[in-house]
């Protein structure tokens, strides 16, 4: 996982609430067995019309937002299906941070595993950023995970909450399994005792 400290980049406005993971990466692209190569399929049904041609009305097809690494979206972003492909597709496309009022729980976890920083700001702050990104040319934001701030060069300055452990893992780019295995001895002891509870076994023998 790539470490994340501070990112200053172009921000793209996706002014919709309840964007679900079926939109972020439609199901026809979930049949692959790889972890990479999903960027072309990000928001596929919104980016392309039925004939497969780019829809110029969709924000990510607007040349102004080419190369954007920060996505601004409405509340309850990435709700629905647990597919981690949504995080992979955002990452592959180049997004390293998403700013929204709220995120769905499973995606929140998936994003963290893929080095994507999620910044929860208030509805008003997000509305301001959406407005700025739509109206100001080449609108850049700085997301600092170290300072837990989102800032621009016009005086916007907001702080966001992040769990200290999640922050540590994102900054260091740490592998979760390795972290868990620090507790292997404790786990062995727990498991030996837990296995005595026959009523919690998948298959009672």
């Amino acid at each position: 996982m790539e470490p994340f400290r501070t990112l200053t980049a172009l921000a793209a406005p996706l002014d919709r609430a309840n964007v679900d993971t079926d939109q972020i990466i439609p199901k026809q692209f979930l049949k692959r067995i790889e972890r990479t190569g999903y960027g072309d399929f990000l928001f596929f049904d919104w980016r392309r019309n039925a004939a497969g041609d780019p829809d110029p009305a969709f924000v990510l097809n607007d040349p102004r937002y080419k190369g954007a690494q920060i996505l601004i979206a409405g509340k309850n972003f990435a709700c629905g299906s647990s597919r981690e492909h949504a995080a992979w597709a955002l990452n592959d496309f180049g997004f390293r941070a998403v700013i929204a009022p709220t995120f769905a729980d499973i995606f929140f976890s998936n994003a963290g595993k893929n080095g994507i920083v999620l910044a929860r700001l208030t509805e008003e702050q997000v509305a301001q950023l959406l407005h700025n990104a739509k109206t100001l040319p080449n609108y850049q934001l700085t997301v600092s995970l170290e300072d837990q701030t989102v800032t621009d060069s016009f005086g916007f300055n907001a702080t966001f909450e992040v769990d200290p452990f999640r922050k540590f893992c994102l900054i260091e780019g740490l592998d979760d399994i390795g972290l868990t295995l620090r507790h292997e001895a404790t786990l062995d002891t727990f498991e030996a005792k837990h296995d005595q509870a026959g009523w919690l076994k998948a298959k009672a023998s």
Binding site: G80, E84, K113, W199
Partner: protein
């Protein structure tokens, strides 16, 4: 009240805490991981790359459901090569890592959330995960069950644990008697409509109250299944006599003395009197009616007796734009009575409503009638076992005589990852769980309803109020 009072969720959580490292999430032991073809290949590949093993293959079960075609011919030769590769990859991974696998033609195959309970693998008090958001289904038996991403699937395969921050608790009590024609599906659609698709984000919901206790196991599974559509981490229902009766004698349920001991342990799980929840909501069952979703989010539901809502009445601009976009996608005009909305397709099945009781309920409505000439309707049993039992009861005959297509088990048209999809613009009455844009096929229009409402819509050719249906059977 005593400070010792605990909720069902807290009891299950506490029994699975491996370690609570200072300043880090709790490390939670996972009793069971369910695996399927779509969200597991990258997890097994991760293990291989890191040279890791599956820690407890006896706590894993795998099957194929998302991609499998639902016709016999389609299953013999899967034309979609990418889907076929994904299925073959799971078969190979299970063989390599020693995980029990219920393959396409096995008698145990079915939607992962249908087979867990029916085989007696899912049990009260367990922690259960699966790379699928509808894992919440298993909470109906008093398990803590939740969907995870593929990195977490790999983490559980390697360690049989997950680092988890403790969710909040939310008690939703449905009190009173359900009116005739109102089902478990209507309960959960009503709840989502009321609290919204992010109404339970960060929470484990415990469904309680007399209307919930009166539900069968199948009905409870329908309610817990759609917890995720309200944003919840999981849904749970306290185990009781109905739960135990459902589990007794199932293939992987304990037997003899072990059964008695299990029931003793499971009986300790229900929430103690006086236990505190972070949030509570009480719903009067008598106020519930049959619902139909009209938009592109499961929160966009309305009573069958009402009309397509008017975006002009939205409280703010973002919501108004959202409603307008939904109506445009759905091809609906504000003010149209829902009973006047005509349909092209009907899908009865899925992990929400693909169990035996659902098929019985739909067959009862369809019996003696014919599917409307402009409707194509299909029934997809949730598992091989459901299919076999339904056939032994003659339900397949009832459906076939009425003009429904009777299929092989799988996720089918719930998510359109297999050949069962809507054509652009087609309108479907569906017993599944999501009406997102393109969910059942690009441009397809999904309306979520109960099995009874879906069967009646198939026959009438448009939505009807099931409370006025004349049952011929």
């Amino acid at each position: 009240m005593s400070t010792e009072s605990k909720t069902l969720f807290e009891k299950v959580w506490q029994q699975h805490v491996v370690v609570e490292p200072q300043g880090e999430p709790t490390l939670l032991y996972i009793d069971l991981q369910l695996l399927h073809e779509v969200t597991s290949p990258q997890a097994f590949e991760g293990l291989r790359v890191a040279g890791r093993k599956v820690r407890r293959s006896d706590r894993c079960i795998a099957t194929v459901d998302h991609n499998v075609p639902t016709t016999i011919a389609g299953r013999l030769h899967i034309i979609d090569q990418i889907a076929a590769t994904q299925i073959a990859t799971l078969r190979q991974n299970c063989a390599e890592f020693g995980v029990e696998f219920y393959d396409v033609n096995s008698h145990e195959q079915g939607i992962v959330h249908v087979i867990g309970p029916e085989l007696g693998i899912t049990k009260p008090g367990m922690t259960i995960v699966c790379g699928d958001s509808h894992t919440s289904t298993h909470g109906a038996l008093g398990a803590l069950a939740f969907g995870i991403g593929t990195s977490e699937v790999e983490h559980v395969l390697a360690t049989q644990t997950l680092p988890q921050s403790k969710p909040k608790t939310f008690r939703i009590a449905v009190e009173g008697e359900l009116p005739r024609g109102v089902t478990a599906k209507d309960i959960i659609l009503a709840i989502i409509g009321q609290i919204g698709t992010d109404g339970a984000t960060g929470c484990v919901v415990e469904y309680a109250g007399s209307a919930i206790r009166a539900l069968s196991m199948e009905g409870r599974m329908t309610v817990c299944n759609m917890s995720i559509e309200a944003g919840a981490r999981a849904g749970m229902i306290a185990p009781d006599a109905i739960t135990f009766a459902y589990l007794k004698g199932r293939r992987f349920s304990p037997a003899g003395d072990a059964w008695d001991q299990a029931v003793t342990e499971w009986s300790k799980l229900p929430t103690d009197p006086g236990a505190k929840f972070d949030r509570e909501l009480i719903i009067d069952a008598a106020t519930l009616v049959p619902y139909v979703s009209w938009g592109t989010s499961p929160g966009m539901v309305a009573p069958i007796t009402s009309s397509v809502p008017d975006p002009a009445a939205a409280p703010n601009e973002q919501e108004r734009k959202g409603l307008e976009r939904a109506l445009e996608y759905m091809g609906l005009t504000a003010g149209t009575p829902l009973e006047d909305v005509s349909i092209d397709r009907v899908f009865i099945g899925s992990c929400t409503n693909g169990r035996l009781e659902d098929l019985r309920a739909a067959a009862r409505i369809a019996s003696g009638y014919k599917v409307s000439t402009h409707v194509s309707a299909m029934v997809v049993p949730g598992s091989q076992a459901v299919k076999a039992q339904a056939e032994s009861e003659g339900l397949d005959r009832v459906f076939r005589e009425a003009g429904f297509d009777w299929r092989e088990p799988g996720c089918s048209m719930c998510l359109g990852m297999n050949p069962d999809i809507l054509a652009p613009g087609e309108r479907c009455a569906s017993t599944s769980n999501r009406n997102f844009e393109g969910r059942q096929g690009r441009g397809g229009r999904t309306h979520l309803v109960s099995p009874e409402m879906a069967a009646a819509a198939a026959i009438a050719g448009h939505f009807v109020d099931i409370r006025n249906w004349e049952v011929k059977a």
